[in-house]
Symmetry: D2
C-alpha cells in the first residue's frame, strides 16, 4: 500500500527502504532536500514541500512521522490543519505517551486518526526488522496492517514459544496493537527502561571481571582505605572479549545486547574510544516517573538511569558533601590531600 | 575419551547423556543406585561403589563431580586420598571460587589436577549444550578438551561476531579456559550475578506494565496516600504474554531469559502457581561480596539480590521501624489501623 | 499581629495555639464547627463561615491555609474570588511546588500575594516549634515576619554553627525565605525526600542487628538456598532498644529520628503494633521526580521510596516473574512447593 | 583506676586526656616516642618500650589498643606472649568482628580477657565523649566499668527517652555491653553502615537543591539528551548553607551529621577544597557483607558504599560498556564525539 514518510534520518530512511523492498509505495518528505533525492534514487516518490507531499498521497492519507521527539509537537500542529477526516498520522518516534493521549484526542475531534508506534531495532532495523509497539484506535491500526507486517521482523528463525499453536499472532511477527492512544509509546517506554537495566547489569558484571586482578596491585593500608584482605583471591586476568563471546552460547544470559557487547569488546577490549559519559534519552526517565506515579517499585531501572547521570558528573557535588562531612567528623582528608 | 561422573542428578545425568551420544565412554557413580542403573540402560558403565568406580577408570583418571555445593568439600577430601598423581578431578558444580583456590593448591601438592568448571544451561543443557567456564592448569584443561567440546553447545546457528575470522576460538564453541584455579567458578559467579540483574530488570518492567491500568481504580485521597494526579494517564490493559512475545522479535531487549518469560506468561498470564518468594543461591551473594571486596560498584546486581531477600519477608522488621518512626513524628497510623 | 487560619486539624490548631501564646491574634475557620469552638475556648476569634472569617480580618488580610493537599486547589479557587489586592494567602500544607508556581502567577494577576510554606515538625511542633521553608515575594514574606518568628523554634539550646557570628539569620531561628514562588515547598519536598532516606538507613541497620543471631537457627542446605557458611559468626542477641538509646549519645549517627526510634523500641522492642505496610505521601515521590527531571542522581532516596511500595505488596508480580523464570530455566520450584 | 594505652594517635591521645581529667591513671606506649612525651607532659605515665609499659601496669593489667586496624593482629600476637591470665586487653579500633571472635577464643585459652570496643565520636570525642559499643565477657567488662563511664558522654543535656524511669542504664550514659566477643565491633560496624546511608541521603538531597536552577541554563535538544520539559519549574537559587542551618531547627531531619554539614557549607558553600573522591573504610564494606550473609536486605547502605567506589572512578569501565553498547545498537556517539 501507499505511505508517506516525513523525516528521512537514519531511522526514517531505512523504514522507507524496507517498505519499498517489499513492494509498497512511499512518498517522502524531509526538512532538507538531499535525503529526499537519495530516497528517490532508491525508488521513493519525492516531494518539494509539505503541500506537494500531501497532494501526492491518496485518500485516506497515511503519514508516518519519523522526526526528533522535540519536533513532533510542531509537526502535528501543522498536520492538524492540513489533513482531512479519515487520514491517519503515525508518530513513530520516541514521544512521551502522555503527549499521545492529548494529541490523539485533539486530532480525533477533526476525525483524524493518530497512532503512536514505538519502534525498536535501531540501526539494525533495516536488516533485522523493527519491533513495533502500536497504540491507537482499532480501525486505523487494521487499515495499515500491511505496512506493519512489512516493517516488522516476521517470524525469522526464532523458535516458537512452547504452547503457541495455530495461526501466528502479530506479536509472533514482531508487531502488536497494545491498546488505545499512548499504549504503543507506553510499552516502548518500558522496553527502554528494561533496556537500561539490562545494559547496566552486563556493565556491572564485566566491570567486576575487569577488577578480578586487583590483588596484583600493591595495597595501601592506611586509616582511609580498606585493604584487600586476601589479595591472592583476586589474581585473575580475565579475557573479556572471550568471556562475552562464550556467554553468547548456551548460557542463561545470552541476549542480543550481549551479542553487541561481544562485538564491541572484540573491536577493542579496552573500549578506548569511549569516555564513559553515558547519555540518556526520555524513555528511561519516563519509565521511572511512571513507576513512581503508579507505585510500582523499579529500583534497578531507576538506579541504572541515575548511574548514567553520575557518569556525566552530576553526582560530584553530592560526593563533595560526603568528603566534607568526613573531614568534619573525623578530620579525614581526601586521599592525596593534606 | 573416557570420563567418570560422580553425581547423577538432573545436571550430571544429562551431561553423561550428551557425552555418550557423542561417542565418549562414561563410568558413573551415585550415592543411590537407581540413577546408576538408569544411566547404564542408556549406555554408561555403572559402578557398585567409589572403589569400583575408580578402578574402572583408565589412568590418568578423569573424574567429574556434579554434586550439591555443600557436598563437594567432603567428596574432594575422599578423592584426595584415592586418586593418583596425574589424575584430574573436575568440580562442575557451583562452588565458591575461593574454595577452588584452596582445593587446587591442596590437591596440587599430590600431583592431582583440580579443575573448576562453571556450567550454565540448566535443564536445557542436554539439548542446547552447556556453556562451560573453566579454571585450572593448562595441561589438564587441554587433556580433556574433547569432553568440553562435546558438552559445549558448539557454533549452532548463532551468528558469528563481526570481526572474528579464521579458526573458531573455543569461546565460539561455548567453552573457555578462563584462567588458573577458581577462574572458572569466578566467571560463572559473575554470570549468575548478571543473571540476577537481568531477571530483575525484566520483572520490574513487566510489573510496571501490570500496573498500567491503575487509574481505573478508585483513588483514596487522605493525608497518608499520594493520590494519582492524572488517572486518565493510567488506563491501559496491557496483554503481558503478547508483549513478551513481541519483544522476542527485533527488539533491543530480546534474550533467552525473555524467551522463557514469554513461555511462562503464555502458560498463565497471572503466574498463579507462584507465590513470589524468590530463592537465591550462593553465586548471587558471592558476586556482591566480590564487588565489595574489590571496590567495583554493582548496585543493580546487589539490589536484585536484596529484593529476593525482601520477597521472602526479610525486610519486614525494617518496614516496621519505618511505620514506628512515622507514628512517632507524625502520629501517622498505618492504613487500616486506628 | 493578626492572622486568619483556615483548617484546624492537628497542625493548624497547634499553630494557632503557638501564635496565641505569643500574643498574636488569630481568626479561625474550619469545615466543621467543633474545632472552631475549641480554639475559641483557647483564645482564638471564631467565624461562622468564610465570609464571616474574611470580614473579621484587617486589611491587608493574612490567610493561612492548613488543609489537606487535595483540598488546597479548591480553597485557592474560592479565595481568589474573595480576597483583595494586597491580601496574603499562605499555603502551609504539602502542595507540589509546581502548583505553587501556577497559583502564585494566577493570584498575582489580581494583586494577591501567595506564599508557599513548607512546615516540618509534625505533632511536636507546638512544643518544639515549626521549621518553616518559605517561598514567594519578598514584600509579603517580610510583612508577616512576626508570625514566622513565633511559629519557628527560635535558637533553643542548639549550639551555634562554628563560623557564624553577629546577628542571627532567620535560618538560625528556624525559618527561611528560600526563594520565589514554589521555593518553600521545593525545599520542604527535598527535606522529606532526605527524611525517607534517613529513615530507611536506620531501618536497614536495625534489621541487620535483628538478624545477628541467625546462626543459631538450623540451616537448610539444598540447591535452592545458600547456607550460612560460618554460623558461629552470627550468634548475637542484640538488645535493640538499648542500642538505639546508646547511639543517641556521642555517636556520629545521633539524630532526632534516632530519638524517636529509641522511644518506639522502648515501647515495644518487637514493634508488634505495626504491620510494616509503610505509607508514602507526595513529597517523597516528587523529590524523585525532580531528581529525574534535573538529572541529579538520588538512588538512595528513590530506593527508599520504592521499598515503601514493596512493603505494601506492589512488587509481588515482579517477584512472581522471577520465580517463573527460575522454574523455566532451572526447573527450580519455590521452596515448599513441589 | 589504672589503664595502659598503646597507640597515641589522635583517638588514643584524646582518650587518655579524657581519662586523666577524670582522675584515672594512664600508662602510655607508642611506636614513636614524641607522643609519649607529649602525654607525659599532660599527666600520663610514660614508658620506654613494651616491657617497660607492661611492668608499670598493676595486675590484672588493663591494656587498651588504639592502633590502625591493619596493626592490631600483630600487636595481639605479641601481647598474647607477654600478658598473664586475668589481664584484660581491649581492641578499641575498627577491627572486623570476625577477627574478634577468633582472637578472644585464642587469648581466652590462656586466661587473658579480650574485649572489643567500637568507638564513635571521632575528633569530637574528647569534648563530647565517646559512644562505646562493647563486646566480651561479663566479668572483664564489669571490672573496667569506671573507664567506660569516664570515656562515654554521660547523660549530657540530651532529653530522656519517654518511658525510661529510675536508675539510668549504661546506654543512657553512652556505653553498652552488647554481647560476647565481637558484639561490640558488630554493633559499631552497623553504626558505620548506617552512617554511610545517612550521609548519602543528605548528600543526594543537597545535590538536588544544587541543581534546582538548571532551568536557567540553555537546553540542548538532540536525539541523545532529554531536554527539560518545563524549564520554568527549575529556576531556583537555593542558598545551601542557609538551608542546612534552617533544618537544624525543628525539622524532622535534624542530626549531628546535619550540624557538621552546616559547618562545612558555612565555611565554603561550594566545598571547593574537596574533589569528591570519597574514601571508605572497612566497616561500610563489612556491614554489606554481613547483610548479604544473613539475608537482610540493605539496598541503601550498600548503594551508599558503591557510590563511594564510583566517586573514585571504579565504575568507569562499566560506563564505557554502556556507551559501547549504545554505539552498537543505535550508532549513538557519546556527546562531543563524532
Amino acid at each position: 500500500m501507499q505511505m508517506g514518510m516525513i523525516g528521512l534520518g537514519r531511522m526514517g530512511a531505512n523504514m522507507v527502504r524496507r517498505l519499498i523492498r517489499d513492494g509498497h509505495s512511499c512518498v517522502v518528505h524531509n526538512r532538507s532536500h538531499g535525503p529526499v533525492e537519495q530516497m528517490v534514487s532508491e525508488g521513493a516518490i519525492g516531494s518539494e514541500n509539505l503541500d506537494d507531499f500531501l497532494s501526492k498521497l491518496d485518500s485516506p492519507r497515511v503519514v508516518w512521522l519519523m522526526v526528533p521527539a522535540a519536533a513532533v509537537g510542531q509537526q502535528i500542529d501543522i498536520l492538524e490543519t492540513r489533513l482531512d477526516a479519515g487520514d491517519i498520522v503515525i508518530d513513530g518516534g520516541n514521544s512521551w505517551y502522555k503527549d499521545d493521549i492529548v494529541r490523539a484526542r485533539r486530532l480525533g475531534k477533526k476525525g483524524i486518526h493518530y497512532l503512536d508506534v514505538g519502534t525498536s531495532g535501531g540501526v539494525w532495523g533495516l536488516e533485522r526488522g523493527y519491533c513495533l509497539m502500536i497504540g491507537g484506535n482499532d480501525g486505523a491500526v487494521k487499515h495499515i496492517n500491511p505496512l506493519f507486517a512489512t516493517l516488522a521482523p516476521g517470524t525469522g528463525d526464532i523458535e516458537r514459544t512452547a504452547g503457541r499453536e495455530g495461526e501466528r499472532s502479530t506479536s509472533e511477527l514482531g508487531y502488536l496493537h497494545c491498546g488505545p492512544a499512548g499504549a504503543g509509546h507506553f510499552v516502548k517506554m518500558v522496553h527502554n527502561g528494561i533496556e537500561y537495566g539490562l545494559m547496566a547489569a552486563y556493565a556491572e558484571g564485566f566491570n567486576i571481571l575487569k577488577h578480578a586482578g586487583i590483588g596484583k596491585q600493591s595495597q595501601d593500608s592506611d586509616a582511609e582505605t580498606s585493604p584487600l584482605r586476601n589479595p591472592e583471591e583476586y589474581q585473575y586476568d580475565i579475557d573479556l572479549p572471550e568471556v562475552a563471546e562464550l556467554w553468547r552460547r548456551g548460557s542463561v544470559i545470552s541476549s542480543w545486547l550481549l551479542d553487541l557487547t561481544a562485538t564491541a569488546l572484540r573491536d577493542d577490549a579496552e573500549l578506548g574510544d569511549f569516555s564513559g559519559q553515558v547519555s540518556d534519552s526520555g524513555e528511561g526517565r519516563w519509565t521511572s516517573i511512571a513507576a513512581i506515579e503508579i507505585g510500582a517499585p523499579a529500583p534497578l531501572l531507576t538506579t541504572a538511569l541515575y548511574n548514567r547521570f553520575s557518569s556525566r558528573g552530576e553526582a560530584d557535588f553530592a560526593d563533595k558533601i560526603l568528603s566534607a562531612m568526613r573531614f568534619q567528623f573525623g578530620g579525614h582528608h581526601e586521599k592525596g590531600k593534606g
